[in-house]
Amino acid sequence: MRKVVVTLLLPLLLVTGGCWDQREINDLAMVVATAADVVHEAGNEQVRLTLQIANPIALVPGQGGGGGGGGPGAPKAFWTVAGTGRTVRAASLSIVERIPKPIFFGQDRLTLVGERAARLGITPLLDRPLRNRETRRSMYLAIARGEAKRVLEVEMPTFRATGLAISNLFDLEGGRQAIMPVDFGEFAYNLSTGTTSPAAPVVEVVPQTSISAEDRKSLGAVPQAIKVSRVAVFSPGGKLVDFFDEKETLGLMWVLNKIKTREIIVPCPVEGPVEPVVMGLVRSKSRIIVHLEKNGLPSFEVKVRTTCDLWEHFGTHPGLLTPQYYESLERRVNTSIEREIMHTVRKAQSLHADVFGFGEEVKRQHYPEWKRMAQDWPEIFPVVKVTVKAETGFRHRGLSVEPVTARKEHR
C-alpha cells in the first residue's frame, strides 16, 4: 500500500521545481536607465520616454561580443527604445507594444530628465517612479543638457550602456570635483520642504577626445561621449531655473556636505601664483548657524571644517619644512573655500533659489520666527546676510618633504 502511495506521489516532484511567480532574468527586458523628455508632437505636449534596456548576454565588454565596439555580428550591450504618450506611464505602455519581453524597472539605476521637460516642471515626471513598487528612491536623478534621449543613445567604448556608466560614475566618483550625485529620495525631500531649491547633476553629450586623427577618418563621424559635471537648479516648485557652472557647483557642494575629495589649488606662500600648491581634501563638514538680526531678518553663518593634505607642490623652491609654511597654506585654503561659497551664495541669491536649505535651517533653529517669514521666503532669501568661516587642518605632505632640487640652493 505504502509503495503505491509513494509511487503515486513521485510525479509531484516534477512540479516542485519552481516558484509560481518566477520571472527569469532572461525573460525580462531589464531597464537600466530611463530618460524622460517632453516633446511637442501632434499639436500638444507629449512625454517621450526612452528606456535603455540591458542585454544580459553582452552587458560586460569582452564577453559574448568580444571587446571593443564589437564586430557587426556581435550582440549589442543594450538597446534603447522610445515611446510617447500623454503621461510617463502612457509613454512606457506605447513601448510595450514593441518589446517581446515584460519591461522590468527593478534594476533601473538612473532617470534622466531632458532640459525642456525640466523647465516645464519636473514634478509630474517624478510621480510614476516614486509611486511604482519596482523603482527605488535610491535611483539617481540627473538632468540632461538638451534632450535626455541623446544621452542614452551614446555608445561608450568602455562601459557600453551609458545608464550604467553614469550610475557607476556617481557611485565611485560622486563627491569628486563637481560631480554631485542626487537620488530621488533627496530630490523629493527638497521638493517637499516647499522652500529649498533642489539641485540635480547635469549630464551632457560631448565629442570624444581620446580619438586620433586616423580613427576619426575611419569612423567617419566623431564618436560621442558623456560628461557629468555641474548641477541644474530648480525652483522650490520643481521648475528648472538655471545651471550652476563648475565653480558654483563646488561652492554648493561644500555647504551640502557633498564633497568627498577634491583638490584646492592655492598660490604658494613663498613664490605666489607662479608656483601653485595643490591641497587635497581629506574630509570636510559644514554646518549652518542661523542668527536673528535686529531688523527681524535672519543671517547665516556657514562653518566649514576641513582636513587637507598637501598633494602637489608645482615648483622648485625650498621652505616646505616649517610649520609656519603650513599655517600660511591653511589660511590660503580657508580664503579659497570662503570665496567659493560666497560666489555660489551670490549666484543663488540672484536666482532667488535657496539651494542650501537656509530656509529649512531657520525652521529648525528659530521656528516661531520662521512661521512669520515662511510665506515670503523667496523674497527674503536674496537679501539675507551670509558669512562663511572655514577652518582647515593640515595633516601631512605625502612621501616627500621638499622638491628634489631644493637642497642645492642651500649648499
Partner: protein
C-alpha cells in the same frame, strides 16, 4: 471555559505581537501627515493612554479572578446591560479582526503581489488562524513565542539599517505643533496600543498573575519606544512632509536599505514580518470574538462556534474598507473613536470606576 493554560511571558509576548504587528505600517503616515517631524512624539504621548488601558484591565481582572472581561461585565453593569455591552464587544472583536484581515490582503496587493485577488489572502490567513485557534490557545501562544523574536528582529533591521540615508536634523524643530493636534494624533496611535485590552480575555488562562500589570505596562512602553524609533527613522530618511505622502513609510524605509551593495532589497523581510505578525493577530482576534460570543450567549463550550465565526469574519473582511483611501481615512478619522475612545479605554475605565463606587453590589452579583 478555556482548558489551556499560558504563562505570563506568553501573554506578554502575545500582546507585543498583537500591538506591534499592524501599527508600524500605516501609523507613521498618519502621524507624519498630522504633525510632520513630531510624529514620534505622538507615540510617546500615546504610551500614557496605553498604560491606562493596561492598568485598568488588570485591575478589573483582579476584582473578578478566573473570569474573562465578558464574563464579569454583567456583574458590574447588571445582567441585561452587561450582556448587551458584551455583545458589542464580541462584535468589536469580530469587526476589528475583519479590518486586520482586509488590511493584510491590501498590504500584500500594494507591495509584492498586485495581481492576486484579495480574497486569496483573506481566506488563506483566516483558514490558517482557524487551524491555529482550533488547536488551542496553548499552541498558538507557543508559536508566537517563536515568531515574536523574528518580527522584532525585522523591525530593528528596518529601523537601523537605512542609517546611510538618515539625516537626524530632519527631526528638528521638536515639539512645535499645537498640543491639541498632537493629542488627537496620539489617540490614533494609542488605539493600536489599546489592543492590550485583549489581555482581559486571556488573564483567566494564566498560570499565575503576580506580574501581569507590570508585564502589560512594559509591553505598552516597549511598543512606544519601538514605534517612536520607527517614526524617527522614517522622518530622518524622508523628512516630515514627505513621510506623510508615503502610503507605507516603513515599507519604503526597508526599500532604502542598501549596505555596501551586499545587504540589499530587504523589503521582503518586512513582508514576512507582516505576514507572521498578522497571523498571530488574526488568531488573537478570532479567538476573542469566538470566546466572547460563547460567553455572552452563555455556552459552556466555544469550539463549535469557531467555524461559523470564521466564515463570518471572512464575509465581513470581504465587505469592509474596500480600497486603501477608505482604509487610511478610517484609520485617521474613525479608528480612535471606534477603539481607544470607546471600547479600549473609556468603557473599561468607566467599568472600573463603577466597581470602585459600588463594591458591595459587585460582591452580591458575583
Amino acid at each position: 471555559m478555556e482548558p489551556g493554560k499560558i504563562s505570563e511571558r506568553q501573554l506578554a509576548f502575545l500582546m507585543l505581537t498583537v500591538t506591534i504587528s499592524t501599527v508600524i505600517f500605516f501609523m507613521p503616515q498618519i502621524a507624519a501627515r498630522a504633525v510632520e517631524q513630531d510624529a514620534w512624539l505622538t507615540s510617546v504621548i500615546a504610551t500614557v493612554w496605553g498604560l491606562i488601558v493596561a492598568v485598568v484591565i488588570v485591575a478589573l481582572a483582579r476584582r473578578f479572578p478566573g473570569q474573562t472581561f465578558i464574563e464579569y461585565l454583567p456583574s458590574i453593569l447588571g445582567r441585561p446591560l452587561g450582556k448587551l455591552v458584551g455583545l458589542l464587544y464580541a462584535f468589536w472583536f469580530l469587526s476589528v479582526g475583519a479590518f486586520i484581515i482586509r488590511e493584510f490582503g491590501m498590504f500584500l496587493n500594494i507591495t509584492i503581489m498586485p495581481q492576486t485577488p484579495v480574497m486569496v489572502f483573506v481566506v488563506t490567513i483566516t483558514a490558517l488562524a482557524f487551524y491555529a485557534v482550533r488547536s488551542g490557545l496553548e499552541t498558538w501562544a507557543r508559536v508566537n513565542e517563536i515568531l515574536l523574536p523574528l518580527i522584532l528582529l525585522g523591525v530593528l533591521m528596518v529601523i537601523f539599517l537605512p542609517f546611510e540615508h538618515m539625516d537626524l536634523r530632519r527631526l528638528l524643530p521638536v515639539g512645535v505643533h499645537p498640543l491639541g493636534t498632537m493629542l488627537v494624533s496620539s489617540f490614533t496611535s494609542a488605539s493600536w496600543r489599546g489592543e492590550v485590552l485583549l489581555a482581559g480575555m486571556f488573564i483567566p488562562a494564566l498560570v499565575s498573575t503576580c506580574h501581569t500589570s507590570r508585564n502589560l505596562a512594559l509591553v505598552v512602553i516597549i511598543i512606544g519606544v519601538i514605534l517612536a524609533a520607527v517614526e524617527m527613522a522614517v522622518v530622518a530618511v524622508f523628512g516630515g512632509v514627505d513621510a506623510g505622502q508615503l502610503e507605507l513609510p516603513v515599507f519604503s524605509l526597508a526599500r532604502m536599505i542598501s549596505l555596501a551593495r551586499i545587504i540589499d532589497r530587504l523589503e521582503a523581510i518586512i513582508v514576512i514580518m507582516w505576514v507572521l505578525g498578522n497571523f498571530i493577530k488574526v488568531c488573537a482576534f478570532l479567538y476573542c470574538s469566538v470566546v466572547a460570543t460563547a460567553q455572552v450567549l452563555g455556552f459552556r463550550e466555544f469550539q463549535f462556534l469557531l467555524l461559523p465565526v470564521t466564515v463570518l469574519v471572512i464575509a465581513l473582511a470581504d465587505n469592509v474598507l474596500e480600497d486603501v483611501a477608505e482604509f487610511t481615512d478610517f484609520l485617521s478619522n474613525v479608528w480612535a473613536g471606534y477603539s481607544l475612545l470607546s471600547f479600549e479605554m473609556i468603557v473599561p475605565l468607566l467599568l472600573y470606576l463603577l466597581v470602585l463606587v459600588r463594591p458591595a453590589e459587585k460582591r452580591g452579583a458575583a
